[in-house]
């Protein structure tokens, strides 16, 4: 069989229980209908995962998948995705990662690596082109994620790329991430799934070529894309300079930076922290993912204060918030160290930071005491942040409670802590307060994996754009905006490129790149791709409904719906979710229970996939 340009053309299935593996051809109709990475994952998980299985049982499936653009010349084509049923939320999970792991996996010859079962002893999987070995990893078990990288590279060489879990994943902490080459498949607890399978790491090296359909046109399309990236004020200006924190002061001025677990107000030193401070005091050097000219990642070392000498690749915007404003902390050194520790243990820095803010509010309200914790845990206490990360990472003491995320923690803590447990469907919210940008509220409420800013990013249109801006405090156009972004973002996540690339490249341009690479007729217009995106979103929705999700789960934490902020541009606002949600269902072609109608499924050619 001729391998389709842009794809590796193979699916690798590893059964850890039997310690066996199988290689299959990538079906043509899977490509045609589901495009790549996230789309492949959606179809396979829907078809093959037994409904209502325990995410931490051997039954659960975890997939590493790449898209057609992964590992090519296309700007920011570094992404790969983990798809599984999340142990944190109990629903659909796709967790996306940049760096170099995805491209390496693709050059090893596999579009999808699907892992099922559970090894009887700790193992890691070694993939060298067509050679697949399941190796004992008892001596690595207990090692942190960063040292695991060093050990495995020493053993196999720098050509090998690694994705592994740390101590938290091994102990099945529900917020555990998978660390890959200094970057993370962070959200939703994929690390715990690998831990439950006794799988420490994937070690991958490959030397297969990716074919190109139309070389000449592909070059031209790439040259145009490269220029667009370079001249965009975002991808060619602020983002390379300030990193992901380039939006920090804009979000804060817009009133959308959540403070102290979304309570609002201020804390000592709040005004001093912004992207300019990071450039001045932290950043040493720019670093990029595979094939990315943007280089939003930074190498940072703390130059002064009690965290002097601490290093991290980052800190990212989300963490400057999650360990900063969320915890009432303005010591940027503590943020750096906290993010480093998250990589070290292999835990999700957004969920962990959010949870620590929650813990601090519980402490201040007297719901968690010093006797229980062993230390004071008020807002602004940087040492408490670090202590809690250690506890969560090691799953010790009260870390046992908080390591399960805020939804489960609030159940255990009880009282009215549910009111301020800032999550949607069990996934902790990131750094945008939807009371200052209503679209973001709808995006959180309807994202297929829970409280996530990457399924749709309306806050960009609401607060960050200089043109095409729409009123952040109105519900007008929000349902449409969120739906359109979700569909298009699912395409991007399926292609294997970074969301930041689309801040400069439009749908037509990306379609052009894809079509020149693959030559696939059904990818020849942006409309066709968006249709695929919509199909993926409907399938993940059906997956979630099958797992027991209902329309009542499409909601926000009570605090965002009932409490108002006391100052700033969004003073006096709560999120008018209900009206937006109604309109959203209507635009989506879903009924009032949030279920895709038969007509919608037919229109998306999903009827047979769902019933067959």
């Amino acid at each position: 069989m001729m391998i389709k340009p842009g794809y590796s053309g193979k699916i690798l299935t590893i059964d850890l229980t039997k310690r066996s593996f199988m290689v299959n051809d990538l079906p043509e109709d899977l490509i045609e209908k589901y495009l790549g990475a996230k789309g492949f994952g959606a179809k396979i998980l829907y078809d093959e995962l037994p409904p209502n299985c325990d995410p931490l049982s051997p039954e659960n499936i975890i997939m590493f998948a790449t898209g057609p653009l992964t590992g090519t010349l296309v700007p920011a084509s570094s992404r790969s995705v983990i798809v599984t049923k999340s142990p944190l939320t109990g629903i659909w999970l796709d967790s996306n990662c940049g760096g170099t792991f995805g491209p390496e996996l693709k050059s090893a010859g596999f579009d999808i690596v699907k892992i099922i079962g559970k090894a009887d002893k700790p193992v890691y999987v070694l993939i060298k082109d067509n050679e697949i070995l399941i190796k004992e990893s008892e001596e690595l078990w207990g090692t942190d994620a960063l040292t695991t990288h060093i050990c495995l590279k020493k053993k196999y060489g720098e050509d090998y790329k690694i994705a592994c879990i740390g101590e938290a994943g091994e102990k099945q902490v529900l917020v555990a991430s998978v660390i890959a080459e200094g970057r993370a498949f962070g959200r939703g607890g994929p690390g715990a799934v690998l831990g439950s399978k006794n799988l420490k790491a994937l070690v991958v090296s490959g030397s297969n070529a990716i074919n190109i359909h139309n070389y000449h046109e592909f070059m031209i399309a790439n040259r145009e894309a490269k220029n667009e990236i370079a001249i965009s004020p975002d991808t060619g200006g602020s983002r390379p300079k300030f990193g992901t924190s380039s939006i920090y002061s804009f979000i804060r001025e817009g009133g959308a930076l959540p403070v102290k677990n979304f309570q609002g107000g201020t804390y000592p030193g709040a005004e001093e922290v912004d992207e300019h401070l990071l450039v001045k005091e932290l950043y040493d050097k720019d670093r990029s993912c595979f094939a990315c000219p943007i280089a939003c990642s930074k190498h940072s070392t703390v130059k002064k204060g009690k965290y002097s000498g601490k290093f991290v690749e980052g800190p990212e915007y989300e963490n400057v918030w999650s360990f900063g404003a969320q915890c009432g902390n303005s010591d940027i050194g503590a943020v750096v160290y906290a993010e480093y520790l998250c990589d070290y243990y292999g835990i999700d820095s957004i969920s962990v930071g959010n949870t620590i803010g929650f813990a601090m509010e519980c402490f201040e309200k007297g719901l968690v005491t010093k006797e229980q914790l062993g230390f004071e845990c008020r807002f602004g206490n940087d040492e408490a942040i670090i202590k809690l990360i250690h506890l969560i990472g090691k799953r010790e003491g009260f870390g046992e409670v908080f390591g399960q995320g805020v939804r489960k923690a609030s159940k255990e803590i009880g009282s009215d802590s549910k009111h301020f447990a800032m999550h949607v469907k069990g996934l902790e919210l990131p750094a945008y307060d939807p009371r200052a940008a209503f679209g973001m509220g709808l995006a959180y409420a309807t994202s297929d994996r829970g409280g996530c800013h990457l399924s749709a990013f309306p806050v960009k249109t609401e607060l960050l754009s200089s043109n095409h801006r729409i009123d952040p405090l109105s519900i007008e156009f929000k349902a449409e905006l969120v739906k359109n972004e979700q569909d298009w973002f699912s395409v991007i996540d399926s292609l294997g490129i970074c969301l930041f690339a689309i801040f400069a490249l439009g749908p037509n341009q990306i379609t052009d790149l894809l079509y020149c690479l693959t030559g696939q007729k059904s990818f020849s217009s942006a409309e066709q791709l968006i249709n695929i995106g919509e199909r993926i979103n409907n399938l993940t929705r059906l997956f979630n409904l099958r797992e027991g999700l209902t329309a009542t789960d499409d909601t926000l934490p009570p605090r965002l719906l009932k409490d108002t902020l006391q100052e700033g541009p969004s003073k006096g606002q709560t999120v008018p979710l209900e009206e937006m949600l109604k309109e959203y269902y209507l635009i989506r072609g879903w009924n009032q229970e949030g279920r895709p109608t038969a007509k919608k499924l037919q229109q998306l050619e999903l009827t047979n996939d769902v019933n067959g």
Binding site: G71, L73, S107, E181, F290, P293
Partner: protein, 130 residues
């Protein structure tokens, strides 16, 4: 001759991708004649044949697979090569890239210098250019 400035490199591997496209017609960084080797948490280094003046590799090659052409550029005859990598050992600038069997030598794309064209930070330049 190609020049590399480490402090400008961001580790994106675009040079590898474009090199393999130029020489192989497809994307395969493991066949690139220029190679970025990561050194996390530090930025790594780029390896390639610099076509240097000394060319100790010619001396080192027992099979006479390496020679000078009329412009004093390096010429590589892969048919004579046994893959012993004596040339790589002799190289003053570090290792030479390989495709797993044989060493790979930068041919500057016959003057097109595709890696220089595509390097987003100008970490790679032609000698004599800024």
């Amino acid at each position: 001759m190609l020049k590399f400035k480490k402090d400008k490199c961001i580790g994106c591997s675009i040079c590898e991708v474009i090199c393999s496209m130029e020489h192989e017609g497809n994307i395969n960084t493991k066949k690139a004649r220029i190679r970025y080797r990561d050194d996390w948490p530090q930025i790594g280094k780029v390896y390639f044949c610099r076509n240097c003046a000394a060319k100790p590799c010619i001396e080192a090659c027992k099979e006479n697979a390496l020679a000078l052409d009329s412009d004093k550029n390096l010429m590589f005859n892969v048919d004579a090569c046994t893959g012993c990598f004596d040339c790589s050992q002799a190289c003053q600038f570090g290792e030479l890239p390989t495709d797993g069997k044989y060493p790979l030598f930068c041919d500057r794309c016959d003057g097109a210098y595709q890696c220089v064209n595509w390097c987003p930070t100008k970490a790679l330049t032609k000698a004599g250019e800024k």
